[in-house]
Symmetry: C3
Subunit: 345 residues, 3 copies
């Protein structure tokens, strides 16, 4: 795909590899269906919003290939309008120019090895024996402890701490304030109930194409490594405890908590504020609903909800009947009495 922003609807179609539209018009920007104006392109992700498209002022719209509704503007049809729209966003909003070079206030240990075309922002601190791959950016105020390995084309935002010995793959993004490799939470009570620290001598390995949002924590393992697999995305304020192994292309939403040594399968999805107990397995393509707590293994491809979590359909049906519980209790008691009376009679 060209990196010049498209200027007309035909440019857009060409950029996406779609049929050129019968009618052309200037496209200055992208916008939501409600906010878009006559020189803007919008998109319809699913038919639920078809009515809003009908009243939209957008100049043109991306719609699913099988879209059958009416619309007052020219349409571009594509099998995956969301994907196409994401690609267009990248074209219309090219990323800001990276700053390369080492800011004079960046402190880099002599034993560190820094690749080509790396950007080291103001007040960055890079410890001993750190390796940083080509094309990586460390924004101001990133702190990299000793013996860390950072791959190529990574972007690490301000106030991130990368702790001793951890490693990041290529094209890893870490947003502000996230901490990778702080000690796992391991203590053993002695006979007085005083808590003896279990030294956390393991590490963390973050694989390629992972993105971790802001203020999250991925703890180092007690022994071995805490692992986040290729392509996985972790939202803000998530807690990945020591020894967890998160698979590839998984989605960990905001404020999720994975207890120690949890395993999360490839393409699994943990909803916001959900959690896993320690030492359990969330299967591949499994889903844990928001706010729920998986206490036991979740089989591949299944979806659980509730706390403790059960199959999500059961959880939702039970939730539906929950408000009736006081009435059920009352009616049962009444029936018991009536039956007893009937028996006595």
């Amino acid at each position: 795909m060209s990196m010049t922003p498209p200027r007309t609807l035909r440019d857009v179609a060409a950029a996406l590899g779609l049929e050129p539209p019968a009618q052309d018009l200037p496209i200055a920007a992208l916008n939501t269906v409600d906010e878009a104006g006559p020189d803007e392109l919008t998109f319809l992700a699913n038919d639920r919003y078809a009515l809003r498209l009908k009243s939209s002022r957008a100049g043109a719209a991306l719609v699913p290939a099988d879209f059958a509704g009416e619309a007052p503007m020219p349409l571009l049809r594509t099998p995956r309008p969301r994907i196409a729209f994401a690609q267009l966003l990248a074209l219309f909003h090219p990323p800001r120019a990276r700053r390369t070079g080492r800011h004079p206030t960046a402190i880099v240990a002599e034993s560190a090895s820094v690749g080509a075309n790396v950007g080291l922002g103001a007040y960055v601190v890079v410890g001993e024996n750190v390796r940083i791959g080509d094309g990586t950016t460390l924004h101001p105020h990133v702190v990299v402890y000793d013996d860390v390995t950072i791959g190529k084309d990574c972007e690490i935002h301000s106030h991130v701490s990368l702790r001793e010995g951890i490693s990041l793959g290529d094209r890893v993004s870490v947003h502000n304030g996230t901490v990778i490799g702080a000690d796992g939470f391991g203590f053993e009570p002695d006979e007085r109930g005083h808590l003896l620290k279990v030294p956390q001598v393991g590490t963390v390995r973050i694989d390629d194409d992972v993105e971790i949002q802001a203020n999250s924590c991925v703890d180092r393992a007690a022994l071995g490594a805490t692992i986040v697999g290729t392509g996985t995305k972790i939202d803000n304020l998530a807690q990945i405890a020591h020894g967890c192994v998160v698979g590839k292309h998984a989605v960990i939403c905001g404020q999720v908590g994975l207890a120690g040594s949890s395993i999360v399968g490839d393409h699994a999805m943990m909803g916001g504020q959900s959690a896993s107990a320690g030492h359990i397995v969330i299967g591949a393509r499994a889903k844990v609903a928001a706010q729920s707590g998986a206490m036991f293994d979740v089989p591949d491809g299944t979806e659980v909800g509730g706390s403790p979590a059960i199959p999500v359909k059961d959880a939702l049906r039970a939730a539906l009947f929950l408000p009736q519980l006081p009435d059920i209790a009352r009616r049962l008691k009444k029936l018991e009495r009536a039956f007893a009376k009937d028996q006595d009679a």
Copy 2:
């Protein structure tokens, strides 16, 4: 109100615009009803604590205007003792002197515009085209990315990151470690289930008089703006996802999670660890109880609880009956059997 701390009970009454007390006495400090000594003033927020006031050693007490109980010390009556006490705290504990001027280690882009009487602490980094209003303080180690606008009389604490292009109104306080404007969590799976990043090209707008506590995250919108309205207060470790619109004078307690594009009305209250699903509306003056999860719209002025959330009275009543559920199941089975036997007979 004068900024000199009051020294006697009459000074206190004068500062609050209340009737002078019959009896005067020195007041050296403010304290809680249990801890206050003979030269300290305490307050009674509601009649529940009247007994504790009776045994308090406080020299004097602020009480509600209609307080009918007994108390061993002189009383000042006011319709809102909590408000009056908060005002007195500000008088007895004037804020620490602000440091103005630019610390020699603060790095400020030449294109940035810095108002009068601004304080820029050690190791502050201010990017290109940033505008900072008069009287604002940036504590040490604040990082301001390019194109940010900060209003007048703001206070931004250490280790806060303000990301590219976001804006803060006047008198905004942001506590340590909070991140405003990191990318929203937007990814689209392609046909292999790999997650394509949806560029987050929107921004964040924080309006006047907002206070955000420590280590919270307000994400930038995918398109348009994530908004936090005038006077709203957000506690620690809260997550405001991309595209949320929080109204005016709302209260977002600690560890709350708002999923993408949630709308929270004016004066609404989200209890600690509560959450909203994406794209829903929490109405004006609505309340979401602690730990509950609003999956659907919450009408104005109503209160919900539970996960998924239902009207809070229903949730509490159901919770009350929940421990009886095993017994209900057992009794129902017994009754079914007895009835069947009776029918057979």
Copy 3:
């Protein structure tokens, strides 16, 4: 215990004060039961894993004194294998050498008092009247506001903010990004519903041997002090609100939220994502299960679960029956109808 790593099984036994084993062999490292090789020592914490020990390739194993199972390798018996293993981890992985001395970029107020053998990392900022005890380490980018007291042999990691006037005891560890002493969340609505800030003029006191993991928040009290008692451990992303008093040797797991003025007793345990309502007492040695919410006092030594929390056995039994609720509702209705029909007949 000597600080030289043991090299053989006899060295290990000697270091732990155990009987020398009949058979000696070289021990190069420690590892988990599944990962350990022939020159590595593993441990068996409880009999549940006895089968895995049987198939382990480990050269030797630490087992409970009363272990009765079979194992293919030499065994060292000890009453507390977990404690012994933690002690060995410390021997095999001596902590990295601390950096002492003041990095030239550390900014320390002249009025600050810094003990002997203190390490102040790059870009550390230390405010007025701060006192730092002997042997304490501040990693790069720690910010210490004015009037803070830090004890001896503390370790404070990068991007920690210690706010004005708070105090830490001796041997306190604080991991990256944690904020101690930010304002409590105190606001009073005025007659228009605008939120007036209640000045938070109290402080925080962290006692000896406390460890707080990453990105947690301990707020300053409105009046008086928020306290964390000796030996207590707090995991990542926890929220300790203003005025809380946490006892000694308590365990606060990840993402726990303590609302204002909660009291947590000695040796109490709060599971991950659990919470307390404000002004309640969690008793000594009490346990609050993961994700549950204590709305009322929890007596000493008891365990609660659910939200709102009830005795944990009741909560688990109710959860077990919850999926039956729709069926119970249906059967009750059926029985009511059958009984009514029977009565009519």
